[in-house]
Assembly symmetry: C2
Homo-oligomer: 333 residues x 2
DNA sequence: GCTCACATTGTTAGCGCTCACATCGGCGTC
DNA sequence: GACGCCGATGTGAGCGCTAACAATGTGAGC
């Protein structure tokens, strides 16, 4: 009951299986007439090449493995989708190996699973501290790219320029006339958080503004809400930069409850530009990372490794864009 | 430079490759002592079985292919993540084949790509009309499950009970005292939309309430906002059920702009229970589908097909839950 | 007409694994 | 003590494909 194999096609076309293989792989030295005959036979039989057999002999399948943790968050989900799209354009399938925790063991296991399938390359979305360690102890025999990983590690890496994005967001608020800007940050162990904190602090210091205490949170609207409850009570707070849009949503909600008008009394800037950000109350000024560009860069790094064989220490940084909406205004006088 | 193969392990352990295979596959008839020796050899060599070779000989790889369209939307993304999680528990990897449009050609191609890899089974997330046709013309030789597909087609199907969810949401509003409930619906060609419309209409009719004109939208906050602008102008509107939470967000924003208080003047109920819904202004009452249950059911249907070989016409329906928050109140008198 | 270069096609040998079957030894049974 | 049975292990074939090489055919150049 198995489908037709290459030899069946060959027999029907009156050639050898090798010629069929050549047609399939676009080998140049095949006579046009022969090619057509083979293609006709392929169509007639509904033949579908067996990737597993090819993977066995070549030692590599046309699959890219992705290791990620929480693909429900907007960022990772978008990235995954973009990666999948880009990979498809290059003729690769994407296999997802999600992982409960981003610790060394979990990551190693996920990578091992992908290696067992002889994937052509691996993309690890490793946005937290604990993942860093794992990456250096992985088998070196497979092209691998890290996304959102530790900027300090000597591995191929693609990242969004968190620092620049945060700097721009903060500067935007300062330029609107605010004396300083508060920051609701993401989880401490995420590199994204660290970069956004750094950019925020840099911008404040560059402007000679006071650096207020950091307000730590996770990525959720819930924790944004809790932070917002505190910020709302402090009369001096006139500008808040949150580490992502969902935090901003929680902050907005808290401010609203406390009767603090946004942007009249307090300005808010987020990060991510989730599709809904334009419909928050008020519409949220935010920083948009270009996930498609990240995906493209990751794949390019992988493809480069396929060709050179060398695992370079390349890295790519993608600059995000500030999207201005109505959640920012001059501070009240 | 290839890694060790089964024969290498066999040689080191002083057994035949077949015995190694038996150990790997948990075959019962292996002496404990032999098993340990083999496992030691595996560990020592860092041996990793080659899935491609196994797939070649068995004709099936331990991979489940998923065909989906827009994995950035909250629903599909959650479903995909849940599917991946569940599959991993059963020892399967998940390969994603996303597709630009859900028409017959795109779906067939995506399925073909998966078949070329000899996946063990395929899950098609086929929430729109145009996908239905394709499903009946697919090769029958692979276990396949449809999620959110056409309830009218004779294919294995897992769905969230949209009708029940919408009915409950609408009834909840009626029970709060509203004379009738308006509905902002999803895209016309989505089954999800159709089911939610049906449940809404049923609940109204069951209560003898007037059925107001349908307000059509897509899934975005942007279109919710546009609909909200209309709804806000109609004094008679006191209760709105939107087809998802993002629409609700847009509606809330429009109502806010027009000075219509939620829930004092107008009550709103959404669908999906996105994590942020609890932090909308006001917190949104909504209907929560259980994606984990959908994923579990899909995989069970697939596994059942693996065993029986028969492609049953099974179907599973997952009931969603109403989550009440503060966006619903009695209508103004 | 013969040689050589080159384009085209065929042949052979695995890739690493599982399946079906063969083999071997130890045990209980009459 | 010979017989059969069963658990434990080995042997050989082949899954469908590609890579390397061998074997043709074709035309230019002399």
């Amino acid at each position: 009951m198995r489908g037709p194999a290459m030899t069946d096609v060959a027999r029907l076309a009156g050639v050898s299986h090798q010629t069929v293989s050549r047609v399939l792989n676009g080998h140049p030295n095949v006579r046009e007439q022969t090619r057509l005959r083979v293609q006709a036979a392929i169509a007639e039989l509904g033949y579908r090449p067996n990737r597993a057999a090819r993977a066995l002999v070549t030692g590599r399948s046309q699959v890219i493995g992705v290791v990620a943790q929480n693909t429900t968050l907007y960022g990772p989900a978008s990235l995954l989708a973009a990666l999948e799209q880009t990979a498809a354009e290059e003729g690769f399938a994407v296999s997802v190996g999600s992982v409960r925790d981003l610790d060394q063991v979990s990551i190693s296991e996920a990578v091992e699973r992908h290696l067992a399938h002889r994937v052509a390359g691996i993309v690890v979305i490793a946005p937290v501290e604990s993942a860093g360690e794992a990456l250096e102890h992985l088998p070196k025999d497979v092209p691998l790219v890290t996304v959102d990983g530790d900027p300090g590690r000597p591995v191929p890496l693609v990242t969004v320029d968190q620092v620049a994005g945060a700097r721009e967001a903060t500067r935007h608020l300062l330029e609107a006339g605010h004396r300083t800007v508060w920051h609701v940050s993401g989880p401490a162990d995420w590199f994204d958080s660290a970069g956004r904190i750094e950019g925020w602090r840099e911008a404040l210091q560059a402007a000679g503004a006071e650096v207020p205490p950091l307000v730590p949170a996770d990525w959720s609207a819930a924790s944004g809400y809790r932070c917002g409850q505190m910020l709302a009570r402090m009369p001096e707070v006139t500008a808040v930069f949150t580490a992502n849009d969902h935090l901003a949503l929680g902050v907005l909600r808290a401010l609203h409850e406390y009767g603090r008008k946004v942007p009249d009394e307090i300005s808010v800037v987020g990060f991510d530009d989730v599709p809904e950000a334009a419909y928050f109350i008020p519409p949220l000024t935010t920083v948009r990372p270009d996930f498609a560009a990240v995906a493209r860069a990751s794949l390019d790094l992988l493809l480069a490794q396929f060709e050179s064989g060398a695992v370079g220490e390349l890295r790519q940084t993608i600059a995000p864009t500030l999207i201005t909406r109505q959640s920012v205004a001059a501070p009240p006088r």
